[in-house]
Symmetry: C2
Subunit: 666 residues, 2 copies
């Protein structure tokens, strides 16, 4: 919502969002986004246990082990009315001073068992203090990829140098590759040249040579040729995933994923741009953490596959424009200012070591091109995976993430746009929202008659029965779609998103000017309180889905079409949401349910395809420039279109395909 | 002498060199190479004052100012019988501990006024402790250069981005350069991309763009276009020189030079290879100091010309193969082992920032190609400057440095070879030798009848008259040629280099098994003792000139020629030596004196030519591969040829051109 000097009707939005008042303190745990209310004076560890935030505590809260170290975030979430400050906490005893270095204390680090809360706080749990594993839903989807990698490996036997033939090692190698493999005019990476002579002699004049694009020697290893490995990377605003591939077979050998550590500097793209624009130091800081994260993922997948990180010889990366700029250490400030021009559209090939990536020293990183200021390389990944430009059908591709990106068209013409959905679908603006982690309600059904709720929690096989292992902690993105759709279908909310105040159900509680609906009773949860949906949650969902819908609608108008043939839900997220729920709330214009498909993390798959096929990199550069970007804010009918789309499923549009599902007309 | 697993007759050489015995301590000052004998217990500062080594001393030796800090070198010159050790010195009081940090004390740093000498020592005087300026004889020679630089600057006005034209900045720039200047498919340096958006807006969409080879944008500056600057660099074993040029006019704006700081790790190429081969740390150390040196020179010339160092947008570098490898941080060990294969022959283009050079962040360094393991980029610089490949005359080009390199041939065929002349011509193996610095005897004449000596000292306008400002401190390279030639012509030594023991002159003193000849009386010197030439000095000169001569002779045999048409003395050094002296001692085979020319620092000029003309870079790569390298050590007649060449001027060859000069037959 916050990305533009916007023409959007903010007063409308503010009125819809309402204000929350509460006497307890609000606590938000990062990076999970889990939040809740806690009593005055409890320790951070107690709060974490109550809300299920999962802080490690080896000594059981005695202040001895130092394992529960967390960081108090200063000023984050101020826009949500949370006044997080180090002044909100107090030390319980001397352990903080004993176990935490003065520099870290200054930065806001504390032992969670030794620190009491007396105000609103946002707490960042560093990875080493985190209990258990985040569920990261970015699996690689099987795809039919023609293998034609950019980096190829050649086994080369050289004639040893002698006094009668003292030709330099590089020229010796160059001649041999020219004679045997017809590779002409090869150059050599500088760092590879530095090691060349020792490598050649270590291998007794037998070496394996990796050549990039048939142009440059980027690796030389002693001895016989072994397999070649490449890494496809999808840098999401929230999650970063890496796929280690065998460059000869295309096989995905291992997948690794982590929360994007930049989350500590802002949840959404706009707050990251804001932080990075403060100065060079802040920009470098955000760049550094994402590079560290990628090195970690590279190390993890290498480890899982039994290879060394330095054996990774190629990387292809996708990400939205902000992630793209931050990864390249390019100031993203102009992405956040009209007219939102990026630094570069074209794909970029940069030496991995120039970026601080610790893989093969001569390797390149290929960053896919971007389409526009708000349609990034991730969307180009989707584009080359789905290839709408090779199809006759009119396809709408929806990539749902913290930012939503849309492509509409076919082989004749392609449009794209970007909608700031906000973090609602990631659970972040939702009262009991949380990210996809064990304990999150991911699926939900409401009986239209009894208004009784069934739900399924991540980590449990079965729906909410008695024998569950993991108790409910909150609601994640896919659960939120179900919440809205099911409440609408059950008549708990009306098409305008307002609570039906005449509703008779023990689950419905009518508050001052906002009601709340109980999804899970306190005894079913791990947080000791009811998990509820409040009016503001519904508003947040309406804003997010409205933005997506009106983006699609405006593009349809531009193309002059009335009907979409196919809807593709891309994004890891798209694979987990219920297609029917999405259709019912009006995430996209009418389309036959059998023509709505979820294709998984197509952005990441696009990175993998470009990793394995040189031609697809060219195709990406060509196609990215052919997609016409639609800047919604300059469309004259945008405000009206958006307001119409806030309604479930829409104020005016008809949904012939949903007639059997939707409530009869009021 | 030490570069090969040699077939040379070392016992012969050892016998010629003799042994020196002395009861006083030997002290050598680095990097000047000045050496002398001093009494037991004097301070380093006193020794420096006695020998004229020029150590700064602001407080006058009171141990207060800390300006006279020097470093005791452990183990250097062991091969010359100098057992330099920190154990040879003792602290005078507590000042060393007070004014020098423990880490530096460990590394051998001492205040020279507070440290007494009780044994042989080699003392390195860091630049900041050095009094006055080293004379660095590497001026640029005026050359007729066709200006066609590799880096060109374009003034570009851009249409500002708007919501209706939000094209990325790079593509906007690319399109404009394509439309206006026909530059197609330009790429952009990664660091320039990082700053692009701010630069473009700082310049209000008017920028000056530097393009490398018509391919890559390597700099973008806000506002109107200014001049472009490039640096030509000649990295010598002893001296590093840089020439700042205006890339549009070719004008040399400033020259800067420094001692090569690697001197601290070894005087000659072979000892540098030895040190660098010890391990990665040592290699990196030598690489670091040369990069620091180049940054200093770049800063100095920029400063002199009133520009910023970051305005230097191109660098071309020459150096011998060892300097070349060390500059590139490539292990030079294989240059010192048979078959002496280099890592690479071809020219190299590397980003300056990858090497740690602090010039324009997107700039490249172009390193000229090398010919063979011992014929480096410096010689290629000479080659493209002198262009023997465009001539009919048979030319011998002699580049005299710490290493001597020879080219012989014409447009039909070119041979090259390399001779380890050793540091004699730099004054380093000579008893009273020193580098070219104020106080060095640079020219010398001996009256054949009276054996009286006239000399000229660097820093004085006139020859040794009474009113001189600077007293003699030692003999530098050009003086050494004169010493040998004049002593030979005056009959003080015979053609075999032996002293004429029957000589009646107060200047000749016959010692045990070696004589000495007084060049300057103690009262004429600044070192309080006679400056003399001893038998070993003559031997060192014979070995050096013999190596050069036999190299030329063997190449002549290879080409089947009896006569050389022209001799070119290249190297800064070549400009200072007396052509007649060089001819008389037999530095090269017979040639008419009018056809012997000195061309100054042709290697450095070659760097400058390649900096200013793109075509000459290509020519260098082509020609470097056409010169055939002659490996002297595998020539069957090398030993005989070398032994013959030790004689003044030669044992067998005739010198018709020198008949009027040479002594009548014995």
């Amino acid at each position: 919502m916050h990305r533009y000097k916007s023409t959007w009707n903010f007063s409308l939005i503010d009125a819809m969002m309402g204000k929350m008042t509460d006497t307890k303190h609000t606590i938000v745990f990062q990076p999970s986004g889990l939040r809740g209310k806690i009593d005055d004076g409890v320790t951070i560890l107690e709060a974490s246990q109550k809300l299920g935030a999962g802080i490690e505590s080896v000594c059981g809260g005695k202040g001895i082990c130092g394992k529960c170290k967390v960081r108090i975030e200063e000023g984050f979430f101020a826009k949500y009315g949370i006044n997080s400050s180090i002044a909100s906490v107090k030390n319980k005893g001397q352990a903080n001073r004993k176990l935490i270095k003065p520099r870290q204390l200054k930065q806001g680090y504390r032992l969670s068992c030794q620190t009491r809360i007396y105000g609103d706080v946002v707490i960042f749990i560093p990875e080493q203090s985190r209990k258990g594993q985040q569920v990261i839903r970015k699996e690689a989807t099987p795809r039919d990829i023609k293998i034609k990698p950019v980096v190829k490996k050649y086994a080369v036997g050289l004639k040893p140098a002698s006094l009668h033939d003292a030709l330099g090692d590089f020229e010796r190698l160059q001649n041999e590759l020219s004679n045997t493999h017809k590779l002409k005019n090869l150059t050599i990476d500088y760092t590879v040249l530095q090691k060349l002579q020792n490598t050649v002699r270590d291998g007794n004049w037998q070496v394996a040579v990796s050549v990039w694009h048939g142009k440059e020697i980027i690796d030389v290893a002693a001895g016989q040729a072994t397999n070649s490995y490449g890494l496809a990377v999808d840098v999401g605003t929230t999650t970063v995933a890496g796929y280690l591939c065998d460059l000869a077979t295309g096989e995905v050998l291992a997948t690794g994923a982590m929360m994007n550590p930049q989350v500590a500097y802002g949840e959404d793209v706009m707050s990251r741009i804001g932080y990075a624009s403060k100065g060079k130091k802040e920009l470098k800081q955000m760049n550094r953490v994402i590079i560290q994260c990628l090195n970690k993922i590279a190390g993890e997948v290498a480890n899982k596959s039994g290879i060394k990180r330095s054996e990774i010889i190629d990387i292809v990366l996708v990400g939205n424009t902000c992630m793209h700029h931050l990864f390249l250490n390019v100031d993203p400030q102009y992405l956040g200012k009209t007219p939102f021009a990026p630094a570069i559209h074209h794909s970029v090939d940069i030496k991995a070591h120039d970026l601080g990536l610790s893989i093969a020293s001569g390797a390149y990183v290929h960053v896919l091109p971007i389409e526009a200021g708000f349609v990034g390389a991730d969307n180009v990944g989707v584009l080359i995976t789905e290839e709408p430009y090779n199809q006759d059908e009119m396809v709408l591709i929806i990539d749902i993430g913290t930012n939503g990106e849309l492509i509409l068209g076919n082989r004749k013409k392609l449009l794209s746009t970007s909608c700031a959905t906000g973090p609602a679908f990631e659970g972040a603006e939702i009262h009991h929202g949380m990210r996809a982690a064990p304990g999150a309600i991911e699926k939900l059904e409401i009986d239209p008659k009894t208004k009784e709720v069934r739900f399924k929690v991540i980590g449990n096989e079965k729906w909410n029965t008695e024998d569950k292992d993991i108790k409910a902690l909150g609601i994640c993105g896919s659960g939120i779609f179900d919440v809205a759709a099911q409440m609408f279908l059950a008549g708990i909310i009306d098409k305008g998103g307002r609570f039906n105040t005449s509703l008779k159900s023990k689950r419905f509680r009518n508050g001052d000017n906002s009601g709340e609906f109980v999804i899970a009773w306190a005894k079913e949860t791990g947080i000791g309180q009811d998990i509820v949906v409040i009016q503001r949650d519904i508003r947040a969902i309406q804003l997010a889905k409205g933005a997506m819908y009106s983006g699609a609608r405006i593009m349809m108008n531009r193309l002059g079409i009335k009907k979409i043939d196919r809807v593709v839900l891309a994004g890891a997220f798209g694979s987990y949401i219920d297609k029917e729920s999405a259709a019912v709330i009006g995430l996209f214009p009418d389309c036959s349910p059998e023509n709505v498909t979820a294709v998984g993390n197509a952005a990441g798959d696009g990175a993998r395809i470009a990793l394995l096929n040189a031609g697809k990199r060219k195709e990406a550069d060509v196609m990215a420039r052919q997609v016409e970007y639609v800047e919604l804010t300059v469309e004259p009918d945008f405000n009206q279109s958006f307001t119409d789309a806030l309604i479930f499923p829409h104020a005016r549009d008809k949904f012939p395909s949903l007639q059997h599902l939707l409530p009869q007309k009021d």
